[in-house]
Amino acid sequence: MFRLIVQRFCSACFTLAFIAAVVFGAVELMPGNACTAYLGRDAVGAKLESCEARLGLKRPALVRFGDWALGALKGDLGVSVQRGKPITELIGWRLRNTIVLSSIAILFGVPLAILLGVVAGLNKDRKLDFALSGGAIFAMTLPEFVSSTIFILVFSVSLGWASGIVTIGYKAPILDLIGSSILPATTLTLVLTAHILRMVRASVIEVLESDYVLMARLKGVPYRRIILRHVLPNSLLPAISVIGLTVAWLLGGVVTVESVYNYPGLGRMVVDAVSDRDIPLVQAITLLICSIYILVNLLTDILAMLLNPRLRTYRA
């Protein structure tokens, strides 16, 4: 048990180190560097010299990678080329805003998805199931920027219920933030729900067809008891790790959704940074988002192992 957790932890560290190398190496392998990307491909002269000196680009790549990775571990993500400020200072508030937005989506989406998934699974192949799973596939296949635009068209333009564009600054107090993140959070919730709903439905159906449920039925156990004691516990345990995986989608979806609604979070900042060709900022935010994802996945996997004894021996 303990060994498994340590193993899982080590593989998470490996993944993170590898991603850091990819994020750093992607730029190194390309022609030019962070300064030529920012100043233009054929920049020469004093401007380029001073920029390269400021970012320390004259040193060999491995030394810089070591510095960068060690700095990131200590919470120092370097300096933005465009904004001339330490990156940690720039992303602090925006990280909070993104966490607020994703938490709202998770808090509403996960219970809703589990409920609807169980309902769909128990009503397999009936009209209700058809409507729920059909809707889920539809919500999953539309890209986030399209569903956001449809939401704005329906709820903001024609119904006038909520503002389609977030206008608050990035340092706004949390309550204002929650108030103005209704539409972006709904969009994220929609797709999050669709993903988890399908997994839960499949899991419920699998358990319903199992031998022990058949046995319970043959023994004459009441339907309600079969569902509550046999089906739900056994089908919801696997859903825990699925929720971890869905966070990966959520963190990617945040990028477009924040841009559509102009929400002042990390996702919009990384889009701005790519437009400005501010490579150190792009690298820092990517690394940060990936480490959040890996951490969440690690925690959900460990939680699943603690709750589900079968996983302790299965996974080598």
Binding site: V22, A37, V146, I150
Partner: protein
């Protein structure tokens, strides 16, 4: 008669080939009897025809700006209305998928080529090489797709020439998973063992023994990869990293419509309908094809 056929080495290969082709054709014919598959196929065909022959039938030039007809609602002169610069929305909607489809077709070919060959080879080779490569692939798949692409876009820049290799590499990863798991079913089968015992070279086994058997699932996956990539490219265009602005593109059109949606909702509605119908059509056709060819839809690679 049968005995002579079986023992005659000349007729043997021909018979096998003829046999394997017939059921495939019949299975594809069954796709046409599936109503949702047929509808999907019809939608996709319509999109492809419009993409190919669009420039011949559009009423206006896609870049033509008419200052006297700005933000016109749909009318007889402009069936889908006009946008902020007085450009015809119908023209731009018809042409809006071409660039993305072209990029995605080339990138899908790249992804299938390297991903398919690497995946099948890994299944055959196995051992520590397989282990290491799959761990690396796992680590790369842990990055949200859009961030993976954006790191490269930040370094390489935007435009078609940068997008094709970026998409070809990033989407090939999930093909590696799919091809590997599809080929794993066959590497322990007798005919592969026989080929190994005959001393055939590895690449011969990959191309002659394994590839024909995973062909169906790879073909279905190609169609699906392509439609995901269309979505990916339009998301990138929307964010300003995809198809460059003067060109007509659904993602760009929806992005342009963002600020004027309350005044001119038609500038957003028509490209949304075009993009959604293509995606839904591909999905319907894909589902039906997966069912008739007996390919598992919920494979690991199905997650973006």
């Amino acid at each position: 008669m049968t005995i002579r056929n079986a023992t005659d080495p000349q007729t043997l290969p021909g018979r096998q080939r003829g046999r394997s082709r017939k059921p495939g054709g019949r299975r594809l014919a069954r796709l046409l009897t599936n109503p949702s598959g047929l509808a999907g196929l019809a939608i996709v065909t319509l999109h492809l025809v419009l993409a190919c022959f669009g420039p011949l039938i559009v009423p206006y030039d896609f870049a033509f700006q008419d200052p006297s007809a700005v933000l016109q609602p749909p009318s007889l002169a402009h069936w889908f209305g006009t946008d902020l610069l007085g450009r015809d929305v119908l023209t731009r909607t018809i042409l809006g998928g071409r660039e993305a489809m072209l990029i995605c077709t080339i990138a899908t070919a790249i992804a299938m080529l390297w991903g398919g060959i690497l995946g099948i080879s890994l299944a055959l080779i196995g051992g520590w090489i397989d282990n290491i490569v799959m761990r690396i692939a796992d680590a790369l798949m842990a990055m949200p797709w859009i961030l993976f692409v954006m790191v490269f876009v930040a370094a390489l820049g935007t435009g078609t020439t940068a997008l094709v290799p970026i998409l070809g590499v990033s989407y090939g990863l999930s093909v590696v998973y799919l091809a590997r798991s599809a080929a794993l079913e066959f590497v322990t089968k007798d005919f592969v063992l026989a080929a190994q015992a005959r001393g055939q070279r590895r690449h011969t086994i990959v191309f002659k023994e394994l590839l024909p058997n995973v062909r169906d699932s790879l073909a279905v996956q190609t169609a699906m990869q392509w439609s995901w990539m269309i979505l990916g490219v339009s998301s990138l265009s929307y964010l300003g990293f995809g198809v460059p602005p003067p060109a007509p593109d659904w993602g760009l059109m929806i992005a342009d419509a963002r600020g004027i949606m309350s005044a001119a909702p038609w500038t957003a509605v028509f490209p949304i309908i075009a993009l959604s119908s293509l995606v839904i059509g591909t999905n319907l056709a894909f589902d039906a094809a997966a069912k008739t060819l007996g390919v598992d839809r919920n494979s690991r690679a199905a997650g973006r």
